[in-house]
């Protein structure tokens, strides 16, 4: 298969991710209600809508600028920390010049840049029971797979697995950031809503390429 990413791939990635977020929005809100105010699902659905709409605009901009526009769109969503960090991530992905199409290694660099942007805005790190528990291992998996020459489909599959494992691991953690930190020990036993969202996002990214490979 042709292993170059174009705007249609970005659209498919975020569309697949949006489907998964929409399908699980109730569950995400329920997870959020344990330590927060129970609106994470609503916020994520709104953020994904904005991402899809921004990426669906027809223009001739470079992929990195498309990501920046989409990220800024999410930064306009009034969704508290979740949308601010997701917007920062997508904006940050646009810090790497991708041109109008590019390969897996460049896409990986763009994910790394997105993670760096998020790390500048939050002190949360893996182990704190936040979205970082899924995001950091997912981006690390992308970087490793891309560097060892894996296809985009395999790379995204690895990322989805890593994000899923990371999100599941938050079940046994107590929160140190966000509203749930005030729960202390009571937070143990359920997964973090933000990490679960990130896992769904990467599942979507993976599905976008898996289908292509099967075709």
């Amino acid at each position: 298969m042709n292993d170059l990413i174009c705007i249609c791939d970005l659209r498919r990635m975020f569309a697949e991710a949006a489907v998964r977020i929409r399908d699980h929005s109730k569950m995400l809100s329920q997870l959020d209600s344990i330590g927060g105010d129970g609106d994470h699902g609503i916020t994520m659905v709104r953020a994904m809508e904005v991402l899809e709409n921004e990426l669906n605009v027809e223009n001739d901009k470079l992929l990195n600028d498309r990501l920046k526009d989409a990220g800024w769109g999410v930064l306009s969503v009034s969704g508290g920390a979740s949308s601010a960090l997701l917007g920062t991530f997508v904006c940050g992905m646009g810090d790497v010049n991708l041109g109008r199409e590019n390969d897996c290694k460049h896409l990986a660099a763009s994910f790394v840049a997105g993670l760096h942007a998020v790390e500048k805005q939050t002190k949360a790190r893996p182990g704190d029971k936040t979205m970082m528990d899924a995001l950091v291992p997912a981006v690390q998996a992308i970087e490793a797979a891309a560097n060892s020459g894996e296809s985009i489909a395999r790379t995204m599959e690895r990322a989805a697995d890593a994000a899923g494992t990371g999100a599941a691991s938050t079940k046994d953690m107590i929160a140190r950031y966000g509203r749930a930190k005030f729960l202390g020990e009571k937070a143990r036993g359920s997964a973090d809503a933000g990490a679960t969202s990130i896992a769904l996002l990467f599942q979507g990214f993976s599905a976008a390429f898996a289908e292509q490979e099967g075709a």
């Binding site: 009034s78 969704g79 508290g80 920390a81 509203r179 729960l183 202390g184």
Partner: protein, 330 residues
């Protein structure tokens, strides 16, 4: 608990509430863009602009304090959720238009701080003259990372008065910080609220329980206990506040009691009566008080008690005239 509220469309709550608010107070406020409340008559040029941001569902906070002597702009988010950073950037640009300077007052909540930080980074790149002050006075949190609760109203009041007097941005920051550093708040909850957009209760609390340390959005606290009387509750909370602020005999305090939404003014007066007696017994001067609903959490029952150490200048600024929809000093 099933949600019982007068709502048209859960998705339209924020735009409809802002529309209703501006129609109710046309002399004081108007809408700028989709979700920023600004003064109907802007401050004269050369005076520092006060901007704040935060989620909605806490009426009359925060937009209820936009007006002469307090805020110039309030950037409004979704129910219990911070506004987008992009909207905060726009509000700061508007506030600074014509080479004005602005003070951004932010309550310490993860989403609000993220939006504020992203906005501050952007306006600093544009070389706008903006400073930020964080309020973090909730003593239920760990030191160094405490939530901002009703104390922001006192910060709006004193910094707003300083700005109205023509103080420089540096002076407004200094006054705001002094107020912020000398105040402490602790909340207690009796009954949950339902989230207007999801219809779900935001926490669970037994019929015979109360919880000390509850956050502004019903975030669980860590002081669940058997329901107590007004006197006992006042004593427990005031005791913790005085210890945390290290208040000495003879010092002057401002006390605010902020109803969460479903606690009656009757109950707040019972609590306040005990507060006054406790301070009297400790020979601490109760110099000013404010009792009512400032920042609510829907139909949650409970209240926030805030104490602040007041010096001569802070008292003068607290007493200065203000004319906003929900805070007036003649």
């Amino acid at each position: 608990m099933r949600m019982k509220k007068f709502i048209n469309d859960p998705k339209q709550i924020v735009p409809e509430l802002l529309d209703g608010f501006r129609l109710a107070f046309p002399r004081h406020v108007k809408l700028s863009g989709a979700n920023t409340i600004v003064r109907t008559n802007p401050k004269p040029s050369g005076k520092v602009r006060l901007v704040t941001l935060g989620g909605s569902g806490h009426e009359p906070g925060l937009s209820g304090f936009v007006g002469r002597g307090m805020l110039d702009a309030s950037v409004v988010g979704e129910i219990f959720a911070a506004p987008g950073a992009a909207k905060c950037i726009e509000a700061l640009r508007d506030a600074c238009a014509g080479d004005e300077s602005a003070l951004l007052i932010v309550l310490n909540h993860a989403g609000d701080v993220l939006a504020a930080n992203i906005a501050m980074q952007a306006v600093e790149r544009e070389r706008l003259n903006v400073k930020m002050v964080l309020t973090e006075e909730d003593i239920s949190g760990p030191i160094g990372d405490r939530r901002g609760l009703v104390g922001c109203v006192a910060v709006y009041k004193v910094a707003g008065a300083a700005a109205e007097n023509g103080a420089s941005l540096g002076k407004c920051v200094e006054v705001a910080r002094r107020m912020a550093e000398n105040m402490r708040t602790l909340a207690v909850a009796l009954r949950t609220a339902t989230h207007p957009a999801t219809g779900q209760p935001i926490f669970e609390l037994g019929d015979e329980e109360m919880e000390i340390g509850m956050g502004q959005h019903g975030e669980a606290g860590n002081g669940r206990m058997q329901l107590k009387s007004a006197d006992q509750t006042a004593e427990i909370i005031m005791g913790r506040l005085l210890a945390d602020l290290k208040v000495n005999t003879g010092e002057q305090l401002l006390v605010m009691l902020n109803g969460a939404g479903a606690t009656t003014l009757m109950e707040l007066y019972l609590v306040f009566r005990r507060v006054a007696r406790v301070l009297e017994a400790k020979k601490i001067k109760l110099v000013r008080s404010a009792i009512g609903e400032f920042i609510t959490t829907q139909e949650q029952a409970g209240f926030q008690m805030m104490i602040a150490r007041m010096d001569k200048e802070l008292l003068e600024l607290w007493d200065a005239p203000a004319d906003t929809p929900f805070f007036r000093v003649l």
